[in-house]
Symmetry: D4
């Protein structure tokens, strides 16, 4: 129910076209979607620099293209996750600014370049195989309007590579730390900084890594208290959480 509809009910009542009981009934069944706070999907995007997001996994190429086509008239940024080069090509025809990120298989259409964050978000990853997930976080953050620094291939078995960049780590306002295998990197990074760390386990590993379970458990049991965790391989979710923190 829009404010206009509310007004028309009020007016109908005032002028006697609607009895009080009928007016009461109309308000009692007030559709929820018109309440401001619940309109999160749509309104929040506009005000907050959230990109419009299409989860590409499990959708046909045609479905993804059609959804994006419907989004283009609004001037928001658009992010398509887990898509492919063919969709990318078709979307570039619709909107030349569409850019496909091969490693993360994400496609971003950035039209609003307003900076939303107050500082830098640092994305750290343990091994080269973790890069697709790390870069999904990076693309997500950039599409949301954040400044990103990244530090790749700094696994815990070669600490010096990490320690050497202590300065850069400590400059971040929030960090996304991505790791597979034993998932120990967020604990180590968490001990080096005094800001929130969003940890992303990846499905990278062999044998008893069980598709990321080992890394997930490692991160949930982190002995560093400033670590919170998102789902396995969920670079997008980590980017959103880190972006929301950086926007504060």
């Amino acid at each position: 129910m829009t404010p206009e509809e509310i007004k028309s009910v009020l007016e109908a009542y005032r002028t006697g076209r609607l009895s009080m009981d009928d007016a009461v009934e109309r308000f009692r069944t007030l559709p929820f979607e018109d309440l401001d706070f619940a309109n999160v999907d749509h309104h929040r995007v506009v005000r907050q620099g959230y990109p419009e997001v299409v989860f590409g996994a499990g959708k046909t190429d045609d479905e993804v293209v059609e959804i994006v086509r419907a989004m283009l008239p609004h001037e928001h940024n658009v992010l398509v996750t887990r898509t492919n080069p063919i969709v990318a090509e078709r979307l570039r025809e619709l909107e030349p600014q569409a850019r496909f990120h091969e490693r993360s298989r994400a496609l971003a259409i950035i039209r609003d370049r307003t900076v939303q964050g107050r500082g830098t978000v640092m994305v750290v990853s343990a091994g080269t195989s973790d890069l697709p997930v790390a870069e999904e976080a990076v693309v997500t953050l950039e599409t949301m309007g954040h400044t990103v620094d990244s530090l790749y291939d700094v696994g815990v078995a070669g600490l010096h590579r990490l320690l050497d960049r202590g300065e850069r780590l400590r400059k971040a306002r929030v960090l996304v730390v991505v790791a597979g295998m034993e998932g120990a990197l967020p604990s180590v990074v968490g001990g080096l900084v005094a800001v929130p760390v969003v940890a992303v386990p990846t499905s990278v590993g062999y044998g008893a890594s069980f598709g990321g379970v080992a890394a997930l458990l490692g991160m949930l049991n982190s002995c560093a208290s400033n670590v919170a965790v998102v789902n396995i391989d969920n670079g997008f979710g980590a980017g959103v959480v880190a972006g929301l923190i950086n926007r504060l």
Copy 2:
């Protein structure tokens, strides 16, 4: 190695008391703990309103008392988690401001009441059995100098209790959401707000809740993108992460 020590080596070399090779050796074996950034445990506490924390679980009463006694000369706030009334009594003799929170079994000694956060942290919990974990988060946040609002017993099977407090929810700068059983509350709350949500699964539940695993998986798989998760029953960790976010 303190700056003073570095200076004394430099001076010894310049004045010839130390050969170049010996000076090189001294720097090569430079003890790490003196590097500023690595001194996280100690320095970070002082500067940042972190409480000194003692994990009570698995320690004897005597051990807890001795550790706290050693901390008291510094003027930091002190938080002891998972302790008991007997320890609380002994600590109150050492420091009358010690306050034991029965439900969360946490003890707080708050001497520095500086407000560290920029907004309010909202702690939401699903059922009354989740209260011990929710209150551990509250005590942690208060000891860190944050303003906390709380909303208890608003499980997803009775949505109206939650929806009715939409206004308060949306005023929070960051939320801690605590739930056992199916762990759905963070998804629902995450959909109602546009700020980060720190989700805490609890071990509350029957049968196939498997000591909190059902809630943990529910939260990791949240369809709301602004949710990050800490370990089962880890109210303390959720409080620390939320506090760090609110301090930004």
Copy 3:
């Protein structure tokens, strides 16, 4: 917002005490708890013969007694699950009709004896160790106003005991089937009847029963298509679902 409040806003607007914009604002922030359909907790109970329910597990004796005391002024039936004889004794002092069921550890206060169901609900259990769960379902159903028939100790390794009661099984309008160990009973019963079967796995078993997981998986994978499952040991939930079906 009660109908009265809605009326008073309408009246204030009609008489000019409230501008249209202010009236619109009042309706837009309409508190949700007043919407009829969301008031499930309270209204649904009154109209539908649902008992008021107190989950006793994890609550202190005092808490349970206080909650029940607050419920007594309404004339609903009351069900307390997983409680104990001491609480039962105290509740009998408040309300002489309180009756404690030792095996299921449930306490029922039945004041409204209106029959809510249209037929009989049959509760079947596999072994004597499954009785506490089966009887929790029975007490739940009786407190909700249903007629219950029960058939105990008819495990699948002694089929004749079950087959002999085919007539009674087929008279039920809905069945609750309770089993631990391999949890095969709902499949067998499901094949003998043409009505819905609510299956309850129990934690009864040895070794690789894993606290009811074996029975739970057995029931979820039932080759009988008329079987739906509730949580391990959840006799209460099975009773509620079966009761709602029988009420249709």
Copy 4:
């Protein structure tokens, strides 16, 4: 043993063609399949509007076609689950009314359009990826002779979409609720209605959804008491259970 056979034994005994001992022996070894109540597979179908069902998974195309060919002479409805367009084409040649549902990969041959249910069954699903499972439930219900309403894409992170259809939800006599990821939708829907909810977890999800285990556990641990659960992705089973309930 048909009544005719029983009669012929009785007659043979009465006329002396069979000794008493031989007659006793004949009855003692009475084949079970002739007992009315055990002939569920066949008789139940005829009387109750159950479709004949062929589980397509794991069968060759030829096997499915042959089984359906054998079913056609009876005038029942026929449902083939998890089949493919090639089988569909071949079956359409046998019976022009065969209709293939692409998303659910189910094929229905509806010849008997008698309405079996007393009300509407509502099928609700959380995300677009859950549609194949939701539609398997819909096709199953329609083939069984039920009126179905459906509500798709109403996940718990966007509650307003669900709450807005409160009226339609509450009109259903029984609901099937389909969800992957955290599987929270049945808890929320269960809290909004006062009738049975059949929950179907789907294998939709990423990382720690573990092929539907997260959703399954979420549903089994639902804090709403009117929820019962079927196997992961088992839209067919949910349809059968809901149909049996609606037929009561």
Copy 5:
């Protein structure tokens, strides 16, 4: 329905006291428990040297005593598993031959000493902590009338102890092999003999033995083809299976 009852129906029909239709009805509803083959619980025991068995776990002392008291008038052997010395004392008062086996917590009343097996059953166990389970198998076998040989403490890390008894191993007609920890003993024994091996995993072990899961998996994956497995700690079941084999 006993043969006598069948005869009386036949007679009533022949003499005209019962119409054919009524006789048919009587036979159609023939109670199953009277069919010989389904009366396994009772008849099988009598004919086959099976003991009457009472599973003591989860029963009160009084319940166990009452059940045994009801069994005593028959002259079968009686086996009570997982009971305690107090019950044993009470049973000895009822029947002086009752003998309690402390380690296995089994009580046997052996009155019929007929040898049921054709050869020797060998019970082998890996460690001293596996003895309670091994001895439950021994007592079960002895109560069933089998000759038992046993070989204890012959774990695979000290092969010579096992190999030295090759002669005795190869004399057994069937073996029960009991092991916890890695559960490797049945594989090794299975390779040394050419008869069936019934493997029993025990819950003995530390850390990642997970209450017998490691041993259970080890046995299910045995590279020896003559090994079949029963539930964790199920010495009774292993004894029954081995006894049935030895009786052939």
Copy 6:
């Protein structure tokens, strides 16, 4: 060390060519493979009607053909499991009696048709999808020289199909029972017979069957005491165990 070698050492000692100490040393290091009892792989086959077995899974076609070629000079039966039609074709060229069983993907070369068993082994399976595993057991048993009866598609949701064949079931000396999904069939069959039942879980199922884990747990927790279990889909192992039992 062959008997010949032993003799030659003895002779060398007697004639003085070997000192006593050297002779002692020779015997102390006696190679184990010559000891009769340990030569199980080879000798056992010859004497006992065991087929020579080649596990086809994980071997190249060439490897399988070469291994079988090496076996052919002996006159044993040969069984190749989990192979394919191309290997079958090549083996038929080597030995025309080679017969490929398509459903079980087993190839048998039966040259010795001596009956090894004393009775009939019954192979029972629950659904048509379980047939490949059931038939692997059948082929194994036939290659070992056993008489096999089989009973397919008698799942527990349609008990009458099973009960009707009670006579045949009870004629078997040992049974192999194969089932996927909830794996309840061995419990039901176990209750109907008084001989050993070898249960084989299959990986047949949907969703929470977890590749046969549900069936496996169901069988391990069987309430029938005469059931022992082999690995998931291990028709071969079940055949071997049942054959060894039937040979006694």
Copy 7:
């Protein structure tokens, strides 16, 4: 068969008291326990500085005392794991050198102080709660005659504590690294040294540590290649492996 027995057979043959065939038979059935290499349990201990070990868990006090009493006449060192102060007191009466280690609940009787290792074994642990396991490794190593250095409370969230002791770490010939929670310490230590690391996961942790499973998986998936793992809480096993390495 002892060398003496071998000699007597040889002699009997040479002097004609034993035929060649009988002598061959005697050697063919040669009991294995007399073969040198298989007598590992006993001989290995004597030669190699292995302590005699009694696993105290699951044994009664009396059993432990009796086993140790039987060991005392030999002059080996004795180690009793997981015992208690009462047993310790009784053993001190038998042998005054018995020393009970309270934290690890191990008792050592060290009589042979020969140094068996060639270098130092370093035992590192992450948290104070890991100390019982770490000290079990230390006591095991000391009883085996090794020089031990230890470094406690150097968890990965406070790296500087560890890095500061780089010198001592790199002096060890082999390291035992003990950690609970995320179990990341062995990866970090493994990256700092160039010798073997024996990792011990502990059951220390909360929530999703699952009794040490998280740490175990973390260690098995270590990105450092020089790490091998023993069972959860198995300080004894780690000590033995490290000791055997250091003895080389």
Copy 8:
């Protein structure tokens, strides 16, 4: 920071080109990778006969070739794991000594043939399907400069094959034992030798082997105390650990 750089800072300070404060700052931010002990990746390789290692899994062919090309100028040995014949061909063009091991899919470039170990490393495997993992260990060891003996196809169900090689087993200084299925071989081998055993579970197996979990648990629970475990299928890691031990 190399010694040269340290010297240049010292010199700049001595000659006044750098103030003391600037010099202090330079040393305080000393890059860690230049510290000797932390330079594990690079320096350790040179001194210790470690090969340069490229993990081929998850890398494109081009990436592997480029990394190896960059390594060739140094004279170290190079090991590429989990690669393929096409990469092998391309690398042979760069360096004719490159040798591809088909079964293990490892490629080795051995240019430095210095023997690094002090004794022989024995690699033992249970079945032929375990060979790829066993040979990965062998290639790793050879590339590290160790002498390797190997013993294949000695599973525990045919002990004599293993026992017969007791002499060779006991000559090894350290053993790598590879097994799938029940993973019992390391326990048996561990009991026959008095040196460290590095156990490698493989993913070889059927059904309830769960991709190597059964073997992994078997090895972690080994009753032989001299066994430590690496990840499933991790032949490389086992080779590295065994090589480091043999180098001591």
